[in-house]
Symmetry: D2
Subunit: 283 residues, 4 copies
């Protein structure tokens, strides 16, 4: 099915729903999913609506000029996306390959609606895997001294391939502020703890030392502040005193895979709206 | 806040959202929550919309005649409910009191938006608890021979107290078809298994015998077919070989309490719509 | 069944299991449960063994002198407890009564193997509930100025009633170091977050502000450092953007009840061993 | 570390623990893990003990004659396994490759302590994947008419490769009684429902039709009765009315992978004991 998805956020006001519904009905939209949310504490209206383009009488090239007057009236932030326009996704990876394997298999099986024009790594380790899935693999070495050049090279590659989403699949380098500022809400990371607990380095070791009874994983958009961006998804798994750090790492891997893949899938399906350093997931 | 909630189900058709949104906007409704669902396999449109009555310019006594033309146009099943009109809830209980204790505490703490004019039991056991919460307690003994009279007496009590929701809080008698037919989607039961597994008697014993690794509880509307009505909520808890049947019963109690209370709360908040022997929960 | 439970921790060494098993066999112990754990990183051996006293030929009054030579040989910390000696538990509560209600119902239904000689509160609010369960209720007001006297009065009450476990069931006062030092591993608190995230005040508000996707609760032994003692149990529940702070509080209550009651039950059943600011739960 | 693991089940009797502990101590065993369980309802004693072979003074070739007298005294079923003797595992697969991908990645990353000498399939589809991991891939076509010959060919392959564990990774053919009888407790299947609910065909479709709020997956040993063998592991995931059958299939895949891999890992680590059509998991 060929669909369009409209994401809106704006101050909450009477008449919003009617204005949007009337607009879509005017052009004969067949609405498939519609979901909205009012955040009272922020007086914010957030909406996701998806419709079948089969009977839609407005040429999508003319959507912007047609919709803008309504957007202006209500002071909307908005974006519209077509299912036919697949997101172009780049995966960054270091040596741990469990998230990469998982993402590539989901991609190949059609679970992730995207193109993956390239994988970027600071190591050679995952090249065979990339080859198996037929995805170009670029090694950009990163050292203490060459960080700026390395990022310049990475951004060159991303631009050359028209990338609009970057997934850090256990990529072990911290991106600079310049980099993350250039891709706002376009870089998804997986952190191997239940944030805000154990942000930063070695979360499994610290979870073991603290004696927690559950460990977690968190996927989030990357911002300037380390491990502090809007959380997209989290999950936990029970552990016991019988689990040493190695066991935590193993159990955590399963969480990392699932939590990251959910976040990526929701982003690709345009189900995520960010506000106030949080996310709304229109699931 | 004084609100109205409209629940709608009808065949899915273009213009539905616009028609409803326009109707509400015409009378200056301040929409607080709106949620809709399209079930493709049934071609069904389901919606819940809640609005603040403060600025609403239509007298709610005139709602029915004003809205009926729209309902007719789209072939809607619909109902509207006011937050000010509290559901009148009766609890049926036998000897196990854990669900009753839980419901009464939630009621008293304001978590359940309802009145509880009476508790009906086939035993004296829970009378002190009912007294503590100041709720009239009626014992209607049920034997093999007096079932029809007992139910007649129960229904007399329910009608006398204007009851519109019955909660079976581990009530150990099976209601007759006549009884359940008189209260369609108005009787909520808690079954102590993960339905459809272990329907019928002694689910914990059978779960133990089968060696399952999780046990569950299910709240559902009661229909003519035992343990087969529309499921409102389910949850599970992990068990191990160390748990004997007594432990399963203990662990299960916590599930029963929570699963039943969620179902009751959602029903009271008009979040449940039934179709095709299933529920939509507008959470 | 009348049982004894032995809890042991000591440096791990060969022959430990054999020495303990032989000792118990010598006196004809019928072992019901036996569980042990080796913590490699600490080179520690931890064990819990429970046996039926029916056929046991050693008088339990003579247990200490009989077992001490083995304990000395292996440098054991150990304790033995009899099921017939019920722990004497005091509940501290302020105004929120949901954990208190839960604990008292579990106590009355026989789920918690203890006596509850008294409840201490800094408010009158929960007196009716205490009366319903027939448990003496002592109000000890706590202000900024009288903290020392208030704690002196509390400790007087605890000693007078022979209390050996204190459960803080949403008690909103921080205990002094003197108090907690007097009851090492004998004070169990429930904190309404997934520790170490959101320790300290207003965890639900902070969880809402951070936009987490799960909220949690943690039961732990109280130590000198706030919210830092050995964790006994934790659990989480999923939330969404639809949940405002009030909803988090409601959902959190269910967690608090269950997480606290599990911790108390395990402590009463002598299933908890503390080491290195962590717990082993012999479940 | 080079270890031995002893698994025992026998009627529960006094002196069992002492006899085993003494035997191991006699030969200077350094016990790493020891776990036991008494099933009261069956009067059964079950034990798993693992020790480091470094200091063990008994040649493992002489273990059987040395231990048999104790086994005879207590009527034990027992087996001993060496960590150095890796289980030889065959994977059966049809067209769905998500479990296969998962198992192979875990195998390669060292998470599964086994050798995988071959993969058997009734289709060509997964050959490239097998090649990528360097594992011989044998296609044995199965039709209504050739089932007996096909199984004969499969068993020939298994024997030729010394296989002692078969994992059905979404293998869509039902094995004959002759086959399963030849590999008792040596065939692990993944069923895509929460057994005993939705045994047999099309469980996701039936879960959707029934309107359950959670879906599950179950790994179990295969016996003569379809989907009725001893359950090793189960897990569930929450679904909502927004999930159609395709979504259930997607969400279920994640469960299938994890539930199957846990069962395989526990079996390989000799953590599973079967009795009374159930399993004890010494985790």
């Amino acid at each position: 099915m060929n669909t369009a998805t409209l994401l809106i956020s704006c101050p909450d006001r009477k008449g919003l729903s009617a204005a949007i519904a009337n607009f879509l009905y005017t052009y004969n939209a067949n609405i498939i999913h519609s979901d909205q949310h009012q955040d009272e504490s922020e007086n914010l209206f957030l909406m996701r609506v998806e419709w079948d383009l089969a009977d839609f009488t407005l040429d999508m090239n003319a959507f912007q000029p047609a919709f803008q007057p309504i957007a202006d009236r209500f002071g909307m932030h908005w974006q519209v996306a077509l299912s036919a326009q697949r997101t172009r996704l780049a995966i960054f990876v270091s040596k741990y390959d469990h998230c990469l394997v998982d993402l590539l298999h989901r991609y190949k099986s059609g679970e992730l609606h995207c193109d993956i024009p390239l994988i970027i790594s600071n190591h050679e380790d995952c090249r065979a895997l990339a080859d198996f899935y037929g995805i170009p693999y670029h090694v950009v070495e990163v050292t203490k001294d060459n960080k700026a050049e390395a990022e310049a090279r990475q951004r060159e590659l991303l631009q050359a391939h028209g990338v609009d989403l970057i997934v850090l699949a256990r990529y072990m380098q911290v991106l600079s502020h310049e980099f993350t500022a250039a891709y706002p809400q376009q870089v998804i990371n997986i952190h191997h703890s239940f944030l805000p607990a154990f942000d930063g380095a070695k979360p499994y070791h610290r979870a073991f030392a603290r004696g927690v009874k559950l460990i977690g994983a968190t996927s989030h958009y990357v911002t300037e502040v380390l491990d502090d961006g809007p959380i997209i998804e989290q999950d936990v798994i029970r552990i016991s005193h019988r689990d040493d750090v190695d066991e935590l790492v193993l159990k955590g891997r399963d969480l990392e895979r699932i939590v990251l893949s959910r976040a990526v899938k929701w982003h690709l399906d345009r189900r995520v709206l960010v506000y106030a350093n949080k996310t709304v997931i229109f699931s």
